[in-house]
Assembly symmetry: C2
């Protein structure tokens, strides 16, 4: 018998239990090779006597070592060190720290940021949201903490269905709706439904995030030029695309609303081929100021070629990670057959809160309030831009949360953006949304050809910030 | 001038505004072809006089029709029907309803369901959860409703990091953690990080959902047989796999805890090849009854070959859609470079609630409580199964929420399951977790060879249900 036990320095004060101390000591001895394969350990009785600890303490330590495979118990013979042949003696490599990639440095932003994606959360009915949450939690029983249906709770899907029909003309049944934690997740799921090697067409310029996502699917991507009515269907037809990702109500970032004729051309394109689909991203349709919002493309679709995607992240709050996708029946069937094992990504509690927020009219009220707020900012911005009209063509102002300034004096977007930044004002370049085929770089040729177009979002700015921001741009851009 | 206007039957009582009624009437006339391309409409002034409505009402209707592309406004000439060439006259197809796939019929369950995935939510500290939620909402400002970081809130990642280190020996920095809405989402994300055509090896039998997910990636899958220490590394080495998906702490469904020697072999396999990784799914490590839980495989990994995945859905509640993935640095770098544009899928509110629940010790307390509860059920079940020991070998009882009954009398799993069902008791067949390569069917040969093994989960059953369920099985299986 080796003299193993005498080396264990048990310390009742060191924060670890005695059992853990014994366990760790023996484990280390095995790891270091001080205890060799098949070596017998002292009996539990001997060790407990020797260390003056209870028999249970030693039993627990040995049991743990057996469970982890360091020891084997041989009936009536005792504990032995098990095969250490496979033990892996590699030390933490020096220099490991250096391999860590540096965290992306975020540049400090400008004081006046005309971000086209920022929204105004200052009017969000926090009190209402909290009240609904409180009430739900008071009534919540265990059912609420169970995993919901993969497609989302039926009640919420019914509410979304009614909402989409009423506000966007979408024709669907609740069974066609899939609720998911954000558009990105829904697109990941859609990839699994559509399959691989699907050739997708996108408007150019387009929403960069969607472009990146399709790239991550390794889908071949065709970038289709646009005219003033939206995506050019003749060019789409020339591409070999099976899917077209479009934003007919308010194209991002051009702001174009696709007229009905073009929509019908698009639907006809979809009907011409095998399994062609249009993905309609209706991302900010709620914010239209003039007349009632355009119905969705899906509303005109009679043959089930439109996959409709929308989100509450923009109209309610970015933290509300709830988006929805309406599948036409052939894809719904495919989803049910092949993909419905993917669990729901939204908690039932969140689904229930959202359902009541919409069902009880708070959503509608909030949207009306925000339309008014945004319209006020929009009108203020357009008013402030009056002085720019000799140097820029102003457009894109009937929906959404940004307008476009097209330079008439032949300056470049870089210069305009740099000048703005020198005044602590951030504006956005149209070229950043233009892509070359199979390339993420900006289209340098494009920038030469088409006039510089600056994007000014106003959703996240206060009226004072809009005024001051435009005042500063005026000084450098037009005076 | 056509006599269009006289047909409009304005009805102030029909619930729609006058503007909408005019808009809809003209739109329908265009759709039906009653108004033809380039036809001029009556002037707004004429129509407002004629219909006895305000000029604004007609302007709004015309404006809407222009916005939607049905009309064009020609300066100083008036409104004209726009190109209807593209108009798409396809009627809702008859029989569309019939195409709807039937909703999956769920069989009514048995009264006594030994589901291996059910959990007991009756001890969940609802009151605590509600209190934390209330407190967070009271303090919540707009920041809480903003979109969080793609990887998850730093505070939560710090808390998860501490928890994983303390309870599972996981060595990581918060920057390596990605928080996501469930394991399925994290695996979808992992696919984008790992890339395509990645050959994955899985234990056989294994967790069916993970198998389906890898299949949906179109990854080649090798099913590796297991012995009593877990996955056979010799067979893994023969496969050409680059990734192995394993559950070392408590394999599902076999219940095997992989001993240290085998773990080291696995890590050595990973170190031998280019870009080999082990995905460690530590799905229910919290529920170990004997000794302290086994440390994770990641804890032994010094070279960054383990991708560690865990979830709070099992240990807290299925509705808590929060899982986490710990990436080794080379993959973290790839994620940052290529995939970090994917938005977070968990709301900041949920992240904050969870963070406080863990940070303030409620999670630990709840786990301790549940370990006691589950152990009680486990011991009760084992006690009740004493009478089965002549006919079955009982195993798999030191962790997790299910035990295995291996039939010693040569009966088939189907017969045993059917007999149970005739007594309103649901038990699960091991063969349902065994797969053939590139095939989802059960291995028929396997069923012939290996003895029938029934899986009895007890997590979701009350003590009375366990007693009665076993009582019923006793009557049919052993008497």
């Amino acid at each position: 018998m080796r003299e193993l036990p005498i080396h264990i320095q048990l310390d009742p004060q060191n924060g670890k239990t005695l059992y853990e101390q014994i366990y760790e000591y023996i484990r280390e001895e095995i790891r270091k090779g001080n205890l060799l394969q098949d070596e017998r350990l002292p009996s539990a009785r001997f060790l407990s006597d020797y260390l003056q600890v209870s028999r249970t303490t030693v039993d627990m330590a040995y049991g743990q070592l057996v469970a982890e495979g360091y020891l084997v118990a041989r009936p009536k013979r005792g504990y032995f060190v098990s095969t250490t042949e496979g033990l892996y003696h590699m030390e933490m490599e020096a220099g490991w720290e250096k391999e860590k990639p540096p965290l992306a440095q975020r540049k400090p932003g400008c004081r006046y940021d005309f971000s086209p994606t920022a929204i105004d959360m200052s009017h969000f009915p926090y009190a209402t949201w909290k009240k609904i949450t409180r009430n739900i939690l008071v009534d919540a029983r265990s059912q609420m903490f169970a995993l919901g249906e993969p497609q989302g709770d039926l009640e919420l899907r019914r509410t979304i269905c009614r909402y989409l029909h009423g506000s966007r003309g979408v024709n669907c049944e609740p069974e066609q709706i899939i609720v998911g934690a954000g558009n990105d997740f829904l697109l990941l799921l859609l990839e699994k439904i559509l399959g691989r090697h699907v050739h997708v067409a996108m408007e150019n310029p387009t929403y960069i995030r969607a472009y990146k996502i399709f790239r991550s699917f390794a889908y071949p991507i065709s970038l289709i030029p646009m005219d003033d009515k939206g995506i050019r269907v003749d060019r789409l037809r020339e591409s070999d695309a099976q899917i077209a990702y479009v934003m007919p109500s308010h194209q991002y970032p051009t702001g174009i609303s696709m007229p009905i004729g073009r929509r019908m051309e698009l639907l006809r394109w979809a009907a011409e081929g095998q399994e062609r689909y249009l993905i309609e991203d209706d991302y900010d349709s709620e914010f239209r100021y003039k007349g009632k919002p355009l119905p969705s493309l899906q509303a005109s679709d009679r043959l089930g070629h439109v996959i409709y995607i929308g989100t509450f992240s923009k109209a309610i709050a970015p933290a509300i990670r709830v988006s929805y996708m309406v599948l036409p029946y052939p894809l719904l069937e495919k989803y049910r057959r092949e993909c419905s094992f993917f669990s729901s990504t939204v908690s039932r509690i969140d689904q229930t809160i959202l359902n009541e927020f919409i069902r009880d009219g708070y959503f509608e009220r909030y949207l009306n309030k925000m339309r008014k707020e945004y319209r006020m900012k929009h009108d203020l911005l357009l008013g402030e831009l009056k002085a720019f009209e000799k140097d820029f063509a102003v457009s894109g102002g009937s929906a959404g949360l940004h307008i476009l300034l097209k330079d008439l004096r032949g300056r470049s977007e870089e210069i305009l953006a740099q000048e703005a930044e020198s005044e602590d004002v951030k504006v956005y370049c149209m070229s950043a949304f233009q892509m070359k085929e199979s390339d993420m770089e900006m289209t340098n040729e494009k920038k030469q050809k088409s006039p510089a177009t600056m994007i000014l979002g106003y959703g996240g700015m206060s009226e004072e910030e809009i005024k001051e921001g435009i005042h500063r741009l005026k000084k450098i851009w037009i005076e």
